[in-house]
């Protein structure tokens, strides 16, 4: 039946689905999966931390903090992620003082580090915007209500603004993280052996692009859909938690 479909579609390609599970291709696939997951996990954490900091800076009352944060956000949002990957891998070492860049040369994992740096900065700018919008999206009345009860600035943030901001922020943040997962596929240009790299490797050696592409696509889709389900679940939890808090 496979032959029939092939002839109907006009494909002159012999599928060999088993190839993905042969050595060494399967090993590469597993390595790729490991690197993709690792890269996603690390960059998600770092970019959220950095993004929250910048986002808060951007909505602060201090004009200088706002301005600097603004430059940061504009710089990383207007320039593609791939550029930053290249930048941290090729350009950044050039700017470092001589002894440091010499030390980096034999460092095996530099590609990974450069990828983490590039993806982190890129993603953090979007996170910052989301955080800023979340904070500023809260009614000004909340700030005044907090003030009028006599809370200090810090207390106001902790008990009134941030909890609500978190609820507003989780959905777009979640989807941004999913996009981050998809962005890790760019890391292959600087040599990080993640999932997409696996596809190219297998194709260049065996000329069988299809099977690996299908498998890897399925993995990406599964990962993204899982993350999306996770985001929806978190949304539900946050909503319920807030209701519980109010009830108390």
């Amino acid at each position: 039946m496979g032959t029939m479909i092939r002839e109907w579609l006009g494909i002159s390609y012999e599928f060999n689905w088993g190839i993905m599970f042969q050595e060494p291709y399967f090993d590469w696939f597993l390595t790729g999966l490991k690197y993709t997951l690792l890269l996603t996990a690390v960059t998600t954490v770092t970019s959220i931390v950095l993004g929250v900091v910048v986002g808060v800076m951007r909505s602060s009352e201090n004009a200088w903090l706002r301005r600097v944060a603004g430059w940061y956000i504009e710089t990383f949002r207007n320039i593609p992620g791939m550029f930053w990957l290249f930048f941290f891998y090729f350009a950044f070492p050039v700017f470092l003082p001589e002894p440091w860049s010499q030390a980096l040369n034999p460092y095996r994992h530099f590609a990974f580090v450069a990828a983490v740096l590039g993806l982190t900065f890129d993603n953090s700018s979007y996170v910052a915007e989301i955080v800023r919008a979340g904070i500023q999206g809260l009614a000004v009345g909340q700030t005044e209500a907090g003030r009028s009860i006599g809370l200090t600035d810090w207390q106001r943030y902790r008990y009134v603004i941030l909890p609500q901001a978190i609820r507003i922020v989780v959905p777009p943040l979640g989807t941004r993280c999913i996009h981050n997962l998809k962005n890790t596929s760019l890391a292959l240009v600087i040599g990080v052996p993640e999932l997409t790299w696996t596809v190219r490797q297998v194709e260049s050696i065996t000329f069988r692009g299809f099977e690996m592409t299908t498998l890897v696509t399925a993995v990406y889709v599964a990962l993204c859909l899982t993350m999306a389900a996770g985001v929806n679940w978190m949304e539900g939890r946050f909503a319920r938690r807030d209701e519980l808090k109010l009830a108390q």
């Binding site: 494909i11 989301i130 998809k182 997409t196």
Partner: protein, 255 residues
């Protein structure tokens, strides 16, 4: 800092043209523009299909859109890179392969823009249109689409910007676009790296920044009462799986 020569700068802008294949910045812009136009037509049909009440139309459209949105651009590019020569039996050239791949990719996101735009219309509008006896097609043509499309324009421009920002991914299938030509020049000589990166980075920055300002102004002009599509346009290409998470407005305005 060593600066690239004029020839090299021209290489950055238009690639090998007219002596060789087109490349550089022009390639990015052309492919993205073509993909967006074609992607809009397909996205419109998909978005409308997704809103249809007929299970047989709604489900496949939704599946297609969700599948593509859960796939990185690079993978979509690989798919078409491998698929097209095999299906058509002949190679149709890198330019068309990448344009088709980008079209398919962006059509899924534009489908969501269309869907959100249609959902954002007050339900009274189509109701009033149906109540004077207009058929489904007539309601779409004369009442709902004109209003929804106008609301979608800022989101549409933002999708253009986002796609342009993702276009360097094209270098993975061999397209000599700006990032690729920049890389070629930078690796010629170590001393050229700072300047080339600066130029390439600045080019992306200027174009995206200008476009986003245009988008802001367009949004203000078209929807002074702020009734634009309820999506933060800049986060357009990020959304996966479901209107619930995506169709929420985070705070004020866009950029």
């Amino acid at each position: 800092m060593d600066w690239p020569s004029l020839t090299q700068l021209r290489f950055l802008a238009v690639g090998g043209f007219p002596y060789g294949t087109l490349g550089g910045l022009t390639m990015n812009l052309i492919i993205v523009a073509l993909a967006l136009v074609a992607g809009f037509v397909i996205g419109l049909l998909l978005g409308l299909g997704r809103l249809s009440e007929r299970f047989l139309i709604c489900r496949p459209c939704a599946a297609y859109v969700e599948l593509i949105r859960a796939t990185p651009l690079v993978m979509v590019l690989f798919w078409f890179y491998f698929l097209i020569p095999n299906v058509l039996g002949a190679r149709i050239g890198l330019f068309w392969t990448s344009t088709i791949a980008m079209t398919v990719y962006v059509s899924a996101y534009l489908a969501e823009v269309v869907r959100a735009g249609m959902l954002a219309l007050p339900t009274g509008q189509p109701e009033a249109a149906y109540s004077i006896g207009l058929t489904h097609v007539q309601v779409l043509l004369y009442v709902t689409l004109p209003q929804a499309l106008k609301m979608m324009i800022p989101a549409f421009v933002s999708t253009f910007i986002s796609l342009f920002k993702e276009s360097p991914a094209l270098l993975m299938i061999g397209v000599a676009e700006l990032m690729d030509t920049g890389y070629s020049i930078a690796t010629l000589h170590l001393k050229l790296i700072p300047a080339t990166f600066l130029i390439v980075g600045a080019t992306f920055f200027v174009i995206c920044f200008a476009l986003s300002r245009v988008s802001l102004r367009l949004e203000r002009k078209l929807n002074p009462d702020r009734r634009a599509v309820p999506l933060d346009p800049e986060l357009q290409l990020d959304m996966v799986a479901g209107a619930g998470g995506g169709a929420r407005r985070v705070g004020a305005g866009t950029r």
